[in-house]
Amino acid sequence: MNPENPDRNHADRTDRNIDRLLEAGGPAPKMPDALKARIRERLAASGSRKTVVQRNPRRWAGWTMAAAAALAFLFFTFWPMGSQAAISWSDVLDRLEAVRTLRAVTSTEVRIAGGTVTTQRATIHFKDPGLSRTELLAPGTDAATAAAPPISITVIHRGPAGAEQLILHPRKNRAERVSHVFRADDDEAPTRPIIDLASESWKRLKQITGEETSRIGERIVDGLPATGFEVPARDFFPATGATPVDGTVRIWAASEDAVPLLVELRFTDRAGREVFTTLSDIEWNVPLEDELFSLIVPVDWPLERTRIETVEYTRTGLAPHVTITVAPDDGEPLIDATGVASLVGAEQITRRQQDIPDQVRVTLELKPAAADHLHAFRAANPGRLLVLDFNGELNVVPKLDDTHPNRISFDLSLLGLDLEELERACFRRRP
């Protein structure tokens, strides 16, 4: 209490009371998802000529194996393959465009000597705008009947300049919360970095154009005649270290109404292994309750909080006084700052509960000749370490990016500067 300033005391008490009221109250009621789906249908029916009319809304909302079997019987008996009008990729895209929620199962198998091994199974949920939930299951677990809790549950909320990610570990009763902040140094919105491959692949699926796909014939999927479309895997996947080097993505859509039934991805990974991933048991536009995407941590679970800030630079470069060399350990420099084409980006990772300094990582684009020189040296001297000298202050081991061969990234945490301080000290905005 401040007897000298009663107005201030009054304001403080008001603030505290409002905080306590809001914390006691909880959020306002939300519209149930089933109702949202119903109203959306009504709006689509009463609104636009461009609306995609659902020819079979019950199936669109999710159908059972029994219904599929019955339909399959009808198809086989009365509706020979090929008698119906062929669907095109644009029909499939129309369907995908109308998707607001999705639930499916993904499974990944790797071929090894003597057979295949299931390496990963997960149930995934997407809900527009920007919500996703992935439940990672033990390999071999049936998602529908799994008694054991998932290995992990990841919920992501995306926004235009950031994302919130909650990772629950039900078998260890602990949780991680990651706040992603995306920033760019120009007026353009930052490119949203990839947080999880499943969401990125889902986004990419909707961007495939007719020119990219080729028809690969028909087959029965889940008891229904389906038309297949194929696109090269390298065109489909976002550029990451996990990018397949070779392979295909096949999308099987119901020949009757173009609803996608199955997505198959076959590729050879960088280790030369054959990988087969499927997206199956797909349910489109099913009601998904908001609780599925809750960011609330169970009571008594320890929570680790991390903040990751990602910055894209298009108008910023290294300051003129900053020197850089890359040299083999105890050897002559292979490249210096004149080999740097541009500053690409930076990332700062802050772990809030841990008493460790922020991790700051910078990525540079090298000129093609400089990059070739480094890659050639590394290929000819696989055992030798490359060391990057940053401004005569720090020696670190850089990472050469296999996906973007001209890029090099390195950790500047030991400089003891956070990203903003580093930007002020070592970067300059170009005119």
Partner: protein, 211 residues
């Protein structure tokens, strides 16, 4: 009007596309206002979820049918939708033979929102009052009467526990702007809460509105 109709709701909608009933824009419009309109209706029909569902559907369909009449120069989308919702509520209550004084009571509340009649700054609120179910309901009711942006800001800050920085990232805005927004939202909440509480106490309508 109960809400501050001239506060920006930053809906970012393209009204021309909405008038052409372009599906993407209609979806975006509905997704943006579904929860807040539902919350607005829910308490005004006496927390009858079935009736709230019917009224919400009627409101959105009616709004889309007459979207040409919406003029962004004259006001914002959320207040316009609540105006339609009010008419739908009145009709629905009459159809079902329910007490039509309930919306009248809310209209009274709307007018009373201009003045705060209790003083949250007088004393710390007692714990037993905060623990009461009715208090939580009043908080939620007050929240549903705030402008769209304020509802979103308070939800993110208090219930999703986002920091100012994280809220700014989601909005594509600055921490300073978020701080100002939160300040205004809390102020609007206080006004809404005090007015609702006092009016309920004065008019003895709490049983009808809350039960």
């Amino acid at each position: 009007m109960m809400s501050n109709s001239h506060q920006p709701d930053d809906s970012g909608l393209d009204v021309h596309r909405l008038r052409r009933r372009e599906k993407d824009e209609v979806d975006r419009w509905f997704e943006r206002f579904a929860d807040v309109v539902y919350g607005f209706i829910y308490y005004r029909v006496g927390r009858d979820a079935d009736l709230a569902a019917d009224v919400a559907q009627e409101t959105f369909v009616a709004a889309l049918e007459r979207i040409e009449r919406f003029d962004p120069q004259r006001g914002e989308m959320f207040p316009w939708l609540t105006h339609i919702a009010r008419n739908c509520i009145r009709k629905a209550l009459r159809r079902r033979g329910k007490d039509t004084t309930l919306p009248d009571f809310w209209e009274t509340l709307d007018r009373r929102l201009v003045r705060a009649v209790t003083d949250l700054g007088a004393d710390p609120l007692p714990e037993e009052l905060l623990a009461r179910k009715e208090t939580a309901e009043l908080v939620r009711m007050a929240l549903t009467n705030l402008p769209f942006r304020y509802q979103v800001a308070l939800r993110r800050h208090y219930f999703e526990e986002l920091s100012l920085h994280e809220m700014a990232a989601l909005e594509g805005s600055s921490e300073g702007a978020m701080k100002v927004l939160l300040h205004r939202a809390r102020k609007a909440f206080r006004t809404a809460f005090e007015t609702i509480t006092t009016s309920l106490l004065e008019d003895g309508h709490s049983g009808r509105a809350l039960s």
